[in-house]
Symmetry: C2
Subunit: 207 residues, 2 copies
DNA sequence: GTCTATAAGAAGATAGAC
DNA sequence: GTCTATCTTCTTATAGAC
């Protein structure tokens, strides 16, 4: 990895733990293994490093959702996928989303930074809401709406179902961001949650 | 309100929006209407102001939960209260908790500060988890456990029920902290959530 | 592209007058 | 208890040698 990327990476780590203002340029440089003034050959200011992180995250997120949305939004509603939605599939879907959010190094650090800076920076306010509220909810809502149409799930308000499915995942995610040691406990609760969710909403004859 | 309290109040407002490090002592003094050096007659350092906020919040929280827990933990399980749990009561309970968390000026600003500082300060990590994860979940779990024992609700894992009930409330709360303009939308979704929760878990004959 | 030296300013905190 | 003046340290950023 070149120096320019390493600066971005080290800065993100530091910003995500201590917040933008609590991190000095010297600290970033130190983490990279260079002196502070050298850093200005790659970025014209501290804010410029921050913007670099932001724009890289935007790119990554768009790429990631482009892949995800395909499964849920257009005509490619693969009947084979959804008709075979078993309890285990649903659990896998939830755990998969959860562990991706929690363990992807870049996603995780960026989420922490978003969390820390969300009230301070209007752009990050919007971004946080989009990435961790609106997008997951509308994605889940679309899925449950389809599953309802297919007759696999009881007819119910898909938005509320999405909230029921996603909100526990969100709460446990924020818990593990704070206290990583509690991940096993969170995973167990998550699995129980999805199992119970499935029992509640799934039509008996559909199982 | 005396100057010492006004300093605490102004500091909390600023810390909750920008974070501890992004706020200067001069800024706090300015908000109070005095000069920075005058502030040091009331607190010996910037950190001392922060600690003052923390200890006041601890006091308030303990007072608040002492009131709440009484309804849920001991022998004073008032059968009259719980036997009359209707859908409207449940909605009132959820909306009440939600609007208290969201509109109590001190609670709201302190939660924002917790949110911002949660990764930076070990004490606040613990405090956040306690106040917005463990305490509400165990409180709700105890209530649903009782309601199950009473035969009013279907037998189900009370911890998961608590998660189902509280997590959407938590997600919508963090949304409104970021974007207060979305409160009406959040309240509507919250009410739909509780209504559906009630339909799912409540025994038909108990209604 | 990295370094040392350094400027320019902001920040936390103190001294001492009133 | 509040002020002005000041100290010290930290921080962002630039200049210029190598």
């Amino acid at each position: 990895m070149n120096t320019k990327s390493r600066i971005l990476d080290s800065a993100l780590t530091l910003f995500s733990e201590k917040g933008y203002h609590s991190v000095s340029v010297a600290e970033i440089a130190d983490a990279v293994g260079i002196k502070a003034p050298s850093l200005y050959k790659h970025y014209k200011s501290k804010r410029d490093i921050f913007n670099g992180i932001l724009s890289e995250m935007q790119t990554r997120y768009e790429k990631q959702t482009a892949t995800l949305q395909m499964n849920g939004s257009n005509a490619a509603v693969d009947a084979d996928i959804f008709s075979s939605v078993s309890e285990d599939t649903l659990i896998q879907m939830g755990i998969g989303l959860f562990t991706y959010f929690l363990h992807d190094d870049y996603v995780c650090r960026f989420r922490k930074m978003l969390t820390i800076e969300q009230f301070h920076n209007a752009e990050l306010t919007t971004l946080y809401t989009k990435q961790y509220t609106d997008d997951p909810l509308s994605y889940q809502s679309r899925i449950f709406s389809m599953l309802g149409t297919c007759g696999l799930f009881r007819p119910a308000n898909a938005d509320v179902m999405a909230l029921h499915f996603y909100a526990p995942l969100y709460l446990l995610l924020t818990l593990c961001d704070r206290e990583p040691a509690r991940e096993p406990e969170a995973l167990q609760l998550l699995e129980q949650h999805i199992r119970q969710f499935n029992q509640i909403y799934k039509k008996e004859n559909a199982q």
